[in-house]
Symmetry: C2
Subunit: 372 residues, 2 copies
């Protein structure tokens, strides 16, 4: 069996969908937020902690694992699940986003693929659609992504038109070499904020009959939220009902809510773990920064009604202390809380879809979250 999406219901007033995903490594409900395990580990956490956040699936980065330790070593270790000791579903991205963001100003995009220099040692590398899929085949994730071009938010319509077409040719080439019967392969819709390009990209990608679809090019530096929502609005109508829809690189609560409303099922983002390392925590009343001196003597947990390990066991005063002296346990505890926060958000979203009250839930959540 490869990844199977079961649509349970679509909410009455929106495009929000309730679904269930089946994989070889277990099932999970959607909408779902996916923590990011960049280099084969969700930063500072062990797999049990990731699971205790009720995570349904984690993401690992093909680019990073390709460079270190290399896909052959992961393969030798029995694939990514065994390598990182995580027996739940794993999605790998294509490496495209990293090649375009980390190798900035050094990349050379050709029909063959992308020539760039490693962000670690400056070594010249070439990532092609075939290579990306071959790496992911060896990593043996449950879901692999097609290799796409991720143009900057400033790209013109003319540039994007060529880019979308190249991404389609790359998707085709990747699909041809995909050769792992345990692994699903997803296509990626590109096209920036342009209706005609998103439509074209979606229709042509869907024609190739992938196992699921993602909406890419939406978490770029400098992109407006307006453009992100347009990208979703212009893509979703052309995606099949019976396949998973994944909005790449998105993790702000408001964007998860806007994405779900527009028919998206899963999301990923480094945000919860990255802000945790800097001392920030999500709360129902917005983000708080534990570096603030007022938390020195705050005996409350991060959130009183949160069921995570951090909130059940530690005070803000202790976490502030850990953060302020640079102890890694601080970022670890906040990572647990922040991941759990986003996953609880998706749990509540699922309940709201169930009750056909998504818009009420969204308004209530955002009114409180954005008040301060």
């Amino acid at each position: 069996m490869i990844v199977k999406y079961n649509l349970i219901k679509t909410e009455k007033n929106t495009k929000a969908r309730l679904g269930k995903i089946e994989t070889n490594y277990g099932t999970f409900d959607t909408p779902m937020f996916m923590p990011v395990g960049t280099r084969g580990t969700v930063k500072s956490l062990n797999p049990e902690e990731v699971k205790a956040c009720h995570s349904g699936i984690v993401l690992a980065n093909t680019y990073h694992l390709w460079l270190r330790p290399g896909e052959d070593i992961v393969d030798l270790c029995g694939g990514l699940h065994k390598f990182m000791n995580y027996d739940g579903p794993i999605l790998t991205d294509s490496g495209g986003y990293q090649v375009f963001s980390l190798a900035k100003n050094k990349k050379d995009i050709t029909e063959e693929g992308v020539n760039f220099k490693s962000h670690i040692d400056g070594k010249k590398l070439l990532l092609t659609p075939e290579k990306s899929i071959e790496i992911q085949n060896k990593l043996d994730s449950d879901i692999a992504m097609s290799f796409d071009e991720c143009p900057p938010a400033s790209a013109t319509h003319e540039y994007l038109e060529n880019s979308v077409k190249r991404t389609l040719r790359w998707a085709e080439r990747g699909k041809k070499v995909h050769n792992n019967p345990r692994q699903a392969l997803f296509g990626i819709v590109q096209g920036g904020p342009y209706e005609d390009l998103r439509k074209y990209s979606a229709i042509e990608t869907v024609k190739m009959n992938f196992d699921g679809y993602s909406i890419g090019g939406v978490a770029n530096d400098g992109e407006s939220k307006e453009d992100m929502y347009k990208a979703i609005d212009y893509s979703v109508p052309y995606l099949p009902e019976d396949k998973l829809r994944y909005l790449m690189g998105v993790g702000e609560p408001v964007d998860i809510l806007e994405g779900v409303e527009r028919g998206v099922d899963i999301f990923d983002c480094v945000l919860p773990t990255r802000i945790a390392r800097h001392g920030q925590a999500f709360t129902r009343d917005g983000k708080i920064n534990l570096n603030n001196a007022k938390y020195k003597t705050d005996l409350d947990p991060i959130e009183k009604d949160c069921d995570c390990y951090c909130c059940k066991n530690y005070t803000r005063a202790y976490i502030r202390h850990l953060i302020s002296v640079g102890e890694t346990l601080g970022g670890r505890l906040l990572s647990i809380h922040n991941i759990r926060f986003l996953i609880r958000l998706t749990e509540e979203i699922r309940e709201a879809i169930e009750k056909d009250s998504f818009l009420e839930y969204k308004k209530e959540f955002l009114d409180r979250y954005e008040k301060r």
Copy 2:
């Protein structure tokens, strides 16, 4: 009840002792290795992980907690146990060692105490015997240590003679202000490698009737192992049988074995967690360095017969990957293993004492450990 030491037996051929300690936060067997939770956390680990290593007691540093977050904040949080969410026994040191090591070249020792500059912001500070005890009273650890002078390994007999006498006066002053009925107070024997000074220090310290005794001044930079063993040999004969004996700052397996042989009960050291962060692991065959490229494809655990979380779940290849890319989970897994390694060592030592076969055990362990 404050801390109570129960001597179970002394080994037939050595001074090695088997004992049991009772505290308000539980009992533990001795000999025991004590992990160090410098700033209210055993670096990178949570309390459950520390306990899963079968740790009987942890150490926290008075100096560090005094500077940040400050003893009043720990007090406000309900004491160190509640602050760090650790409900097992905790020992705090006096701050003396840190004042002498971290504030190097800036200290000014007077009869009153030590004037020095904070290693964090250069602020002028004064730590006195009374202040050290007052801080520890507020931290509410199970065992507090007297404030002592920690002279460098190069100190002359003349210097040490004055220093030992001052440390005795400081011990007396600290004992007078000690005011926490839940907390035991230990005296510290000093005197460098000199028999007359150790004897004098031990006898005079014991006269003050502390709840336990430690042997200090043995883990200084530049001190030879010979001198360390002499310091123990010259101190132990004058310490009472019915009180705990603690060798401060010692954690190399060979030194734990030598200490136990000479009648020491507990040990502490940052070594297992510090070397872990640098990619080193204890094994029965000596230390190994996971940065070594040969571990890239090593599918074995750190130690096949180890029962720790790290060894039961992860390969050397994965841990090497984590260490080489700088993921904190790497140091965390190795910290768990290294602490468990030293605690297993003390478990096996206890078995050997039980069977009156300590010397055989020691030889067998060291023959293998030091072979490579």
